[in-house]
């Protein structure tokens, strides 16, 4: 061992010397490209890129990501003025679409293609060619063994090789018999071509998955919509609250189906200690129509159970309360009536809401406040929601009048009220105080500005609508990939060679060797199986140890195939060689 270490330690010096002496060849552009291609498609580079990909994916979990939640990113940049902008420059808020992340995976996939294509060609050739020629010294193979057919069996060397070929063919090997009329006929056999096929399928399928994802990004679309009980959504661009089209999206893709939310029920946990009030079931009853003219269909939309309609899937992703209010203006006319979606803010459906009443006359009205399904007020006067269910629903509002700024036509966030140009009417710090309403009650605004009534409470759901044409293909390719992976890991590619010869005394001597290509921890078992099959074929008493006198000692070494090559290598020609086949362990 130490010699080897020394030998290796010595070797770098002459190599280095040779390197300095040899003038580096000047590479032209073509050679440069070829060199770069060789480097890129080398296993070492692929491994490096693979590990780099793992490292590059990590920042996406450390920093907020725009695709997931753009507002958090904006807030994050605001909160960290010193480095927030810098991170943005480095595309750390869009890691998975960033130039550097894309560069890594594109290089990786190019490397993959550069690796898969030549391997596929080589494997195609290998599958069509005969097993490699029989090695001179089979005993050098990792698995090696010998068998002896007694002279009275009347089995010449050529017949033995043919029957061995039959045995191996039956076992799934591709077999070629060589020199079967010569003195030392042999055969080469190979099996397990599926291993490399599986390997290639796995890697090709990964490319397929990537392409499917890209197709989904090009032709898919997604959107969100809030539906209060009784509302109907029609699948047109204006029907969406928020819409994210794919790069190649066309509005003609939208099928004008409709979905109406009839009823939404939530079941809260009432028995688990520490988890009282945790939702345990959401159930939305909906009525759907494939097209405006089709018959209505009753369906149930649940979490984990989307409704499929018109090539899209509709998912239940959020819910909350929408208090129904009626606002009358100073003239006594109903200026606004209907449910107002309250946005979730805290525990137990503590939600905020904004009511804009642009139709109120003489002056427009605005309300900002909170909705609490089960209102509690602490001694300090802080109100909170004690339960997610409607045990003590309450609206607390501030009111404003003035110009809401909606008439100019510029878009506004419905969940925010810009009070800069408005005059406060009700607030806790004003003489009039804030507005507190229970269902069924009405509050008359000061100065004859009108009134507001809290009529009832409805529930609303948030639904996500997705169309992804690439998704089915992604699944198919993923399944193919996993199938290929299993085949490539569990099919073993093996080669077997058998050589026979006739001894002077008439016995037929057989030697065989096995070689695995790639990882194969079952090669020994295969050697045992092949030996057993051959013994059965030639009716050798495999377990009979008393067949010959001189095997009692040598059998141990004979039956334990060895790579050393120092025993049994010339067994076919040495009379003192193996005599009686014995049972392997």
């Amino acid at each position: 061992m130490s010699e080897r270490v020394k030998a290796n330690k010595k070797s770098p010096a002459p190599v280095a010397a040779a390197r300095t002496e040899a003038a580096l060849p000047v590479l032209g552009p073509v050679e440069m490209l070829r060199w770069a291609w060789t480097q890129l498609t080398s296993m070492r580079t692929a491994l490096f890129l693979l590990l780099l990909l793992a490292v590059a994916a990590v920042p996406g979990s450390l920093f907020p990501q725009r695709p997931a939640n753009p507002s958090i990113v904006t807030q994050y940049i605001k909160d960290n003025p010193d480095y927030g902008k810098l991170l943005d420059t480095l595309q750390l808020y869009d890691v998975y679409s960033s130039a550097w992340f894309s560069a890594i995976y594109i290089l990786l996939f190019i490397s993959l293609i550069g690796c898969v294509v030549p391997r596929a060609i080589a494997h195609y050739r290998a599958m069509r060619s005969q097993p490699p020629r029989t090695p001179k010294r089979l005993s050098r193979l990792p698995e090696y063994g010998t068998l002896v057919v007694p002279a009275d069996a009347g089995l010449p060397a050529s017949d033995a090789i043919r029957s061995a070929a039959g045995v191996l063919k039956k076992r799934g090997y591709r077999v070629e018999v060589r020199d079967d009329d010569g003195a030392r006929p042999s055969l080469g056999a190979e099996r397990g071509f599926a291993k490399e096929v599986g390997n290639l399928v796995f890697h090709t399928s990964l490319i397929g998955v990537l392409v499917s994802v890209a197709v989904g990004g090009l032709f898919g679309y997604s959107g969100q919509r809030i539906l209060v009980e009784g509302d109907t959504f029609v699948n047109t661009l204006v029907g969406y609250d928020q819409f994210t089209p794919g790069t190649n999206f066309q509005s003609s893709q939208l099928q004008p189906y409709s979905i109406q939310l009839d009823k939404f029920d939530v079941l809260f946990d009432r028995e688990s200690p520490g988890k009282i009030g945790q939702p345990i079931d959401f159930n939305a009853e909906v009525t759907t129509r494939d097209t405006p003219d089709s018959p209505a269909k009753q369906e149930v939309l649940k979490v984990n159970d989307p409704v499929t309609l018109g090539g899209t899937s509709i998912y239940l992703t959020g819910n909350g309360y929408a208090p129904v209010v009626t606002v009358r203006d100073g003239a006594g006319n109903v200026a606004m009536q209907g449910p107002v979606v309250a946005k979730l803010q805290g525990d137990n459906y503590y939600s905020s809401l904004v009511i804009k009443v642009p139709d109120a006359r003489p002056e427009q009205l605005g309300f900002v406040g909170f909705f609490l399904p089960t209102a509690f007020i602490t001694e300090e006067g802080v109100s909170f929601s004690g339960d997610p269910d409607l045990f003590n629903p309450q609206l607390t509002l501030n009111s404003y009048f003035g110009d809401l700024g909606l008439d100019a036509g510029s878009p506004q966030n419905v969940f925010e009220l810009d009070v800069r140009d408005l005059t406060p009417l009700n607030a806790r710090n004003l003489d009039a105080g804030g507005i507190t309403l229970a269902p069924g009650s009405t509050y008359t605004l000061p100065d004859g500005k009108g009134s507001i009534s809290f009529d009832s409470v409805k529930r609303y759901v948030g639904v996500d609508i997705h169309h992804n044409p690439g998704q089915l293909y992604a699944l198919i390719f993923a399944l193919l990939a996993v199938g290929g992976l299993i085949v490539s890991l569990y099919v073993n590619r093996r080669r077997v060679w058998v050589r026979t010869g006739t001894h002077e005394d008439g016995r037929t001597m057989v030697e065989y060797g096995l070689l695995a290509r790639g990882e194969d921890h079952r090669l020994a078992a295969e050697a045992v199986a092949v030996r057993k099959l051959l013994s059965e074929e030639w009716q050798l008493a495999d377990s009979d140890s008393g067949e010959s006198a001189d095997d009692s000692d040598s059998s141990v070494t004979q039956q334990t195939p060895s790579r050393q090559g120092d025993n049994g290598a010339d067994s076919v020609t040495t009379p003192a060689g193996p005599t009686g086949p014995k049972k392997d362990q």
Binding site: A57, Q278, I280, D281, F282, V482
Partner: protein, 383 residues
């Protein structure tokens, strides 16, 4: 209406978990005692062998009793073939090529059968030797007892909650620990991996204690997002793969220690880690951990795929780079790198072992830190 919660069952479950942890602790002590005792016994054998070395020259391909031979200890146990393999491996760290000897050649494995003559030094193929190691037997018996109690704890938890017992971190940890120990015991039927006992049982104790102290959650219902049959499929495969990764992590860590020790001994240094003689050679550790990692990698691929299918059902997209998805992907890529490393020049052996260890650290990180501190759609810690 979901199944009603049965709190009495939940309390029984916690009692069982406590008892299991106690039993594991005794088993752990027994495993440690086994290591210490065997280590002492081996040293005594070494001394005797050293005295006899003058008269007996060990045959190269003979029985591997050559405790005094140059390669010493574990490598010698493999007989001549493994000796040369070990030498190859040591060389390959320096400059040597990836030879055929790197492959899990079956001849090497088979030769291990001869090693029973080498006292209690571990076999290359990790099969049971003839010797009776009483403390180890006691430890395994105790572990079996512990795992039965543990199973009772997991089952009562499931009955108490009326669903699969992996809906939050407490349940994931207690069930995960159970699966890790159960897988370990199942492997023990075929292979003598008792040298891993202290590690696996110790880890199970840590997991149970962490579950009870840091992640304790009373029996409860699942949030609607988790109410899907995919919870059964996706999480059970994740638990199983994680349990397998736990085993290979232990083996890879031991492989690094063993490889360092083999090099030291080969270079004529003193063998300071006598108990490591119970551990097979670095190469056979690497081979077995590769085989287990291959299974676990397939399992993890399924975890990823089924997770994606579930994500499509629950959230409307099969992949959205949620923090948990990111880390599951990172783990998948690291272990994919590990599998490729075996076929890459200069990346076998120690580097591959490091990849396996890094992969496992990612698994642990994904479970602990990501669940608790990262905001994402997978925030189901139940805390």
């Amino acid at each position: 209406m979901p199944f009603a919660i049965n709190e009495t069952m939940g309390q029984y479950s916690e009692l069982f978990m406590l008892l299991a942890a106690g039993t594991y602790t005794v088993a752990f002590i027994a495993f440690a005692w086994d290591l210490a005792k065997s280590s002492r016994a081996l040293r005594a054998i070494d001394l005797k062998a050293a005295e006899a070395a003058g008269t007996k020259v060990p045959a190269m391909a003979g029985a591997g009793a050559s405790a005094g031979s140059a390669a010493g200890s574990a490598a010698a146990a493999d007989g001549g073939a493994a000796d040369s393999v070990a030498a190859d491996r040591v060389d390959s760290h320096l400059a040597g090529p990836v030879g055929r000897a790197e492959r899990p050649s079956s001849s090497v494995a088979k030769r291990g059968g001869d090693a029973s003559g080498a006292g209690q030094t571990a076999d290359a193929d990790m099969r049971y030797a003839a010797e009776r190691r009483v403390p180890a037997r006691v430890a395994v018996a105790l572990t079996v007892l512990g795992v039965l109690i543990h199973a009772a704890g997991v089952i009562t938890r499931a009955l108490g909650a009326g669903r699969v017992p992996w809906g939050n971190m407490y349940e994931f940890l207690t069930t995960g620990a159970f699966v890790a120990v159960a897988v370990f015991l199942l492997v023990l039927i075929r292979r003598d991996l008792r040298f891993l006992g202290t590690f696996v049982v110790g880890l199970a104790i840590i997991m149970l204690v962490a579950a009870s102290v840091a992640y304790w959650t009373p029996v409860g219902h699942l949030v609607p997002a988790l109410q899907s049959y995919w919870l059964i499929i996706h999480v059970s495969i994740a638990v199983l793969s994680s349990a397998l990764f736990t085993l290979t992590f232990a083996m890879s860590a031991l492989q690094l220690v063993q490889s360092h020790r083999q090099k030291t001994v080969a270079a004529g240094g003193a063998d300071k880690l006598g108990f490591m003689r119970l551990v097979p050679s670095a190469l056979s550790l690497e081979n077995l951990s590769y085989r287990i990692n291959a299974i676990a990698f397939i399992g993890w691929t399924f975890t990823l795929m089924f997770g994606a299918i579930w994500a499509e059902k629950a959230w409307g997209r099969f992949w959205g780079w949620d923090t948990k998805e990111v880390w599951t992907f990172v783990i998948w890529v690291v272990y994919a790198g590990y599998l490729h490393a075996r076929a890459t020049r200069g990346w076998t052996g120690t580097r591959a072992a490091w990849l396996s260890i890094v992969g496992y650290l990612c698994v642990v990180f994904n479970f602990t830190i990501v669940n608790q501190f990262f905001n994402g759609l997978h925030s189901y810690s139940g805390l």
